[in-house]
Amino acid sequence: MATVKAEPLTNEAEADLTGCYISDLLSDVLAHASPGMLWVTIQIHRNVISCALTKDIGTVLFTCGRKPDPAVVAEADAEGIVLLTTKQTTYEAAGKLWEAGLR
């Protein structure tokens, strides 16, 4: 089974997923992602949380080992959003997620 080795950043590290969307452009996520999806991005600033909240995205995976500020993690914790980070690139992570059956 393919796995994405990801490290949880928030206290909460489990989530229910309805699919996955990958983009680093916030408006693109607002336009095309669906509620409950996993969002894979390299963006790590506060607006990722706002954007996820707006779209009811509960889980964000940061790639290339990126980690947001503690303040951003705290906000995600307060809002119940799961943040994860992986050392893999977006392409590698996407491949593994697809292989594992997240479609």
Partner: protein, 393 residues
């Protein structure tokens, strides 16, 4: 109400407008019909994420289903009656959090306390289990079963530390009740200690707590509906008491990326409380968020105003300049004049205005170079989406 009861909450909601006569919320947590969440592994893997995905879908299909009055659950957990997805219950079960239902402050004991002492505490507080704290940290749990065993085997005067359950499973206070129900189902425990985001013990939750909390909230909703119906039948059809118009206003500063989204989130809360369809909530939130970030990215500063009335949300964004040189171009997907910083942060996709137009039921934008831009959007709260034409050229 405490252990062992199946989470079946029934409440009659008469809602003439929608024709829903009786709703039964079935949370088949205790009888094994609810889907089981997979055991969490030491690290989050994609396979676990996928398994959760499947669990969530089943949970959605079987565990939270509204049935008509004659509907009885079948072996698969699907009601025999005509299943109806009703937003009231879905909103509640997904939006109420563990912190809304848990008992607080928790009654606790220390590891040195005897099981006898704990038995007396349980009796006086009418509870059936309590966390054991050492230096403020939960280290175990003593349940009524432990006490019964102690009485049976004659060690009731021994300290809790010797007999308590040590492999403690806790819930976080921000978990949804749907999640809590799934955890009860998975572990078969009667209660969970609840921790806040700092890891401190803040409460204890039982199945009974969840049932009471849902009952209270459903009852409140039912009363609201009944009150609205009463007002309508007496000729005072008037939603204003249930949904006063609310206006949110905020100054938006140029370049203040860190503050973006505050107004739209507050608006979301209001719409959520009013039971507005989640899709409509999201459309309104996208309009407000995109309008706000437009001011932050492109203008020298302005204001965002959101007016929520019973029928619609009116979002107005005004800035003091510099103005949009070519609105037609700005409305095209992919066209952006955002600067390098904005682009680095993931803005400037050239989709802001097209997104706003797509999500609006009514949309106007006026701009004058040197004077500023005024954007006006309406999102209707009770109407199906009718997306305006694609902005692609």
């Amino acid at each position: 109400m405490d252990v062992g009861i199946s989470l079946i909450v029934m409440i009659a909601i008469t809602q003439k407008e929608t024709g829903i006569r009786l709703a039964a919320v079935l949370l088949n947590a205790a009888n094994g019909r609810c889907s089981r969440m997979p055991e969490p592994g030491p690290e989050l893997t994609a396979s676990a994420a996928v398994a959760h995905n499947a669990a969530a879908i089943r949970l959605d299909d079987s565990a939270i289903t509204m049935t008509m009055s004659d509907g009885s659950p079948t072996e698969t957990g699907m009601p025999a009656g005509k299943p109806l997805k009703v937003s009231v219950a879905q909103v509640l079960i997904y939006e109420l959090r563990v912190r809304d239902a848990m008992t607080r402050p928790p009654v606790t004991a220390g590891p040195g306390d005897s099981l006898r002492t704990i038995q007396h505490l349980m009796k006086s507080h009418r509870i059936s289990g309590m966390p054991i704290l050492q230096d403020g940290v939960p280290v175990g749990l003593v349940s009524i079963e432990d006490i019964i065993n102690a009485l049976d085997q004659g060690h009731v005067n021994e300290p809790a530390a010797r007999w308590m359950t040590r492999n403690l499973v806790t819930l976080r206070d921000h978990f949804s009740l749907v999640r809590a129900v799934a955890e009860f189902d998975r572990h078969g425990f009667g209660r969970f200690p609840v921790l806040n985001s700092a890891g401190e013990l803040v409460g204890v939750i039982t199945r009974g707590d969840i049932t009471s909390c849902l009952m209270q909230h459903l009852e409140k909703r039912a009363e609201e509906v009944a009150a609205r119906e009463a007002a309508q039948t007496t000729g005072q059809a008037n939603d204003s008491e249930l949904a006063e118009p609310v206006v949110l206003r905020a100054e938006v500063k140029a370049g203040d990326y860190d503050s973006a989204g505050k107004v739209s989130q507050r608006m979301r809360q209001i719409l959520r409380m009013r039971g507005v369809d989640p899709d409509i909530q999201r459309r309104a939130a996208i309009v407000a968020y995109e309008a706000e970030t437009n001011i932050i990215i492109h203008s020298i500063g302005g204001d965002l105003s959101v007016a929520v009335t019973p029928g619609k949300v009116v979002i107005e964004a005004t800035d003091r300049g510099p103005g949009i040189e070519n609105i037609e171009l700005a409305m095209q997907e992919g066209w952006s004049t955002a600067g390098p910083l904005a682009r680095e942060l993931g803005f400037g996709a050239g989709m802001g205005l097209p997104n706003i137009r797509k999500c609006s039921d009514k949309f106007e934008i006026k701009s004058e170079m040197g004077a500023g831009t005024r954007l006006y959007s309406e999102v209707l709260l009770h109407k199906a989406v009718q997306p305006p034409q694609e902005a692609r050229s």
